[in-house]
């Protein structure tokens, strides 16, 4: 893993360009509602938080997958879902503590962020750099480790 997707909510202006970029890249019809990234209210005035999969080190989704359909891509660091292996038991959607493994009824499949195979469209199109795909060396140590399961 060379890079990490870094989220800086203070820079987010809530324009939802990331949602559009994501759905154009992944969903069939490019509907923002089918995106794998969600711009949510942060609970304060003018504060938005782009919520997306954080690719946890010890991920609950990977643990919950009983058929081994979720695997980390060592090159990009993303946890990728193998659709051919998925049995749609919905365990990962229920287990993810951040709600970022979702069932897409339009495609009738479970979807999650795969970092677009190493070039996340959300980060590429984010106008304010609230989303950045940074080399690990440039990420502050506190930002590197995300632990989901204790």
């Amino acid at each position: 893993m060379k890079s990490r997707l870094v989220v800086t909510p203070n820079r987010c202006i809530g324009c939802r360009t990331c949602e559009l970029a994501c759905s154009f890249n992944h969903a069939i019809d490019g509907k923002p509602g089918r995106s794998r990234i969600f711009v949510m209210g942060g609970g304060f005035k003018d504060l938005w938080v782009p919520v997306t999969c954080l690719q946890c080190d010890d991920a609950a989704c990977v643990k919950s997958c009983l058929v081994g359909a979720l695997r980390r891509n060592e090159e990009t660091g993303a946890i990728e879902l193998n659709q051919d292996k998925c049995v749609k038991c919905m365990a990962c959607t229920a287990a993810c503590p951040f709600g970022c493994s979702i069932y897409d009824s339009g495609q009738d499949q479970v979807v999650k962020c795969d970092l677009c195979g190493g070039d996340p469209a959300c980060a590429r199109f984010c106008p304010t750099k609230a989303l950045e795909y940074k080399p690990i060396a440039q990420v502050k140590p506190a930002q590197v480790k995300v632990k989901a399961v204790g």
């Binding site: 609970g43 643990k63 292996k85 049995v87 749609k88 959607t93």
Partner: protein
């Protein structure tokens, strides 16, 4: 690495790979309905049968299920030879006789040019083609709640003693993967019923959205070491929660900057 010829095209394949994987990778469409990547190949539907030969076989040919046949150097494969097509048609003809009411079987047979069976139809035939995919997936998931029981004409997929299976957690993986849609389940409000067993779905403690069954969550937290409380809140509310948590942190750093 091995080299083989498929439909006249020389391709590379990894040692130990099955023929079907290579055929699929080439984008060649052959039916394989009992195959699923989550489980080992089984070869029960026989529809992925292909013709194989080698240069030194003196013109002899063999017909094998490609899902179970490992690739070998110098293999010459034909996925749609006349005989293979004939084998597939015969199989579908038999399927059609056994399952005349199955939409899936009728559609697949029609795609291969079989619209009417030449055998005697079983008028009340069900949709189960006995491919065993559901039982294999259930076993792979670690539950083994269902299996094939009986032999010959009376063979069917059922829970032990045909009673509500104690090991079933109601994950619906069997029904989701059944190629013909034979496995039936019913959902009414928070309750789910499959294989004659009743399940209660978890309602999100915040919004009430229904997620997986309680039994499935209990089993996951026990065998996979996932805290049980992870399953109490639905994915929508989880996202809201994390947004508020990250929002609070962002607000703090915003206030610090302005001070």
């Amino acid at each position: 690495m091995v080299h083989l010829t498929i439909n006249g095209q020389v391709v590379q394949a990894n040692d130990g790979e099955m023929l079907l994987d290579v055929i699929k990778r080439m984008g060649i469409d052959i039916p394989a309905i009992c195959q699923h990547d989550a489980v080992e190949p089984f070869g029960s539907c026989r529809l992925c049968t292909v013709e194989i030969t080698k240069a030194d076989w003196d013109g002899w040919k063999n017909y094998v299920t490609s899902c179970l046949y490992p690739v070998a150097d110098g293999l010459i494969v034909n996925t749609h030879s006349e005989t293979v097509n004939e084998i597939r048609k015969t199989l579908l003809d038999l399927y059609l006789a056994r399952h005349p009411n199955s939409l899936f079987v009728r559609k697949l047979a029609a795609e291969h040019g079989v619209t009417k069976t030449s055998y005697e139809e079983i008028p009340d035939g069900d949709d189960c083609i006995l491919c065993g995919l559901c039982t294999r997936i259930c076993e792979r998931m670690g539950f083994s709640a269902i299996s094939t029981v009986g032999r010959g004409h009376s063979k069917e997929v059922a829970p032990p003693l045909k009673e509500a299976p104690p090991d079933c957690v109601g994950c619906l993986a069997c029904a989701q993967c059944c190629p013909t849609g034979h496995i039936k389940f019913s959902e009414e409000g928070a309750s789910r019923s499959i294989w004659g067993k009743q399940f209660e779905k978890i309602a999100c403690s915040k919004c009430g959205k229904l997620t997986i069954t309680k039994e499935f969550a209990d089993s996951l937290s026990e065998t996979r070491n996932i805290p049980r409380e992870y399953f109490d809140v639905c994915d929508d509310c989880r996202r809201k929660e994390i947004a508020l948590t990250m929002g609070r942190l962002a607000q703090w750093s915003r206030e610090e900057e302005t001070v």
